[in-house]
Symmetry: C2
Subunit: 221 residues, 2 copies
DNA sequence: ATACCGGATACTGCATGCAGAAAATTTCGT
DNA sequence: ACGAAATTTTCTGCATGCAGTATCCGGTAT
């Protein structure tokens, strides 16, 4: 087994694979909030030694995906407040980022965004929720990455990553998937037209909508 | 050595110590921008095995303190733009954070801030630049940590940490240390008075000053 | 019955060995 | 002497062993 793994590693390190596997576990709900994570357990489950698991674990901790108690790690429990807080940060950063992006996006970058947008539409049409969530997340990340100010990008991406789980649940509802697609479509159009004002307005409108949404529906865990 | 270290570890893990040591090396300029970092070298230098060094290295990478090439790690080279970009993010986040802090700071927290402020003043009076930089950084971090919205805190602290090196250089000049102390003094007063408007105004004014400063002086590396 | 103490267990942190890949250096052919 | 091929060196990633500590459990004393 060690042998076979070794070969794959050249493509992607085991610790990165484990990192992804745990994140997927968090997203899918296989790893439940509050649950404790033990090195050996995970090592056995994924068929690797403790080392890459260890390394993945505290990378995840540092990224805010896991809580690290004095001894060991556990799946964090998000409160309603966290969801609200995230919206606050987005509200602060989004206008600046979106402005940058709409101003500076190259044809190639716009093409890539278009492709991702098509992918999420296709996944939705095909009823493949998981694939939709994936593409939707990528679209978001890719958009933020266009921003020249990488510090801004990193702040936003950091947050969005942490809320992948929450968004994954929101997107279980068909209506929310459709709303997200429409939003992304309008956003993409504004970016492609190099119209910062329109892009920022679209983002603001969507944040307002989310505010109202969370006021009515209980925020997801 | 392993024995002795083991005892200390209970207090602080070796990987965390190494993490700090490398960050200090970055701050002091002992580790120069562009320089490559090799596991065994650092392990020997710090008298530990490769494991904690490894672990510290990619924690630093994930935090943005190091660049990770395909093979190995290196000290990142900051551009002038990064300094400007940092100001942009601060300008977006600072008002929200400072508002929160001024509104919600407890007596205990204010006391702690006061203590740190006294410490930086004392260090400056004693001409101990290194100690000043330390206390100054702590004051800043502690201030941001008061914010209820931990996502906001984390974004800001992440950035401030990364610019410790730059600030350390800025603070080599006596006049800049004095300006920083004055700024912190006025900020602290506004927070202690629970006057969000004044606190935010003070931050804004200081950011404006920095803008002007960087326009004249070449931004530090 | 409960509280306290001692041993077993579980789990983490660190050291080290090994293998594989990339870089550097040497050797060989022309 | 120059370029190509081969070998050596360097360095990383992973597995594993060991040691130390916290936790849990059962036994004993009050």
């Amino acid at each position: 087994m060690a042998r076979a793994a070794r070969v794959v590693v050249q493509v992607e390190r085991l610790r990165d694979q484990v990192y992804q596997l745990i994140r997927e576990g968090l997203k899918s709900g296989e790893l439940k909030p509050g649950q404790r994570l033990v090195e050996v357990e995970l090592a056995e489950r994924y068929g690797v030694s403790r080392t890459p698991v260890r390394e993945a674990l505290f990378q995840l901790t540092r990224g805010g995906f896991l809580d690290s108690t004095e001894r060991g790690y556990s799946v964090p429990i998000y409160s309603e407040k966290d969801v609200i807080y995230r919206l606050e940060v987005k509200r602060l950063l989004i206008p600046a980022v979106t402005g940058h992006v709409a101003r500076t996006a190259t044809a190639l970058q716009i093409k890539r965004l278009t492709k991702l947008h098509e992918a999420e539409k296709a996944a939705h049409a095909a009823g493949n929720v998981e694939k939709f969530v994936e593409a939707n997340h990528e679209f978001r990340t890719e958009t933020h990455l266009i921003c020249e100010n990488k510090l801004l990008s990193r702040c936003l991406i950091m947050m969005e990553d942490q809320f992948e789980t929450a968004r994954s649940r929101i997107h279980q509802l068909e209506v929310n998937r459709r709303l997200s697609i429409d939003h992304n479509g309008r956003l993409l159009a504004a970016i492609a037209a190099h119209d910062p004002a329109a892009a920022v307005a679209e983002e603001r409108a969507f944040l307002d909508f989310l505010d109202g949404y969370y006021a009515e529906h209980a925020p997801v865990g």
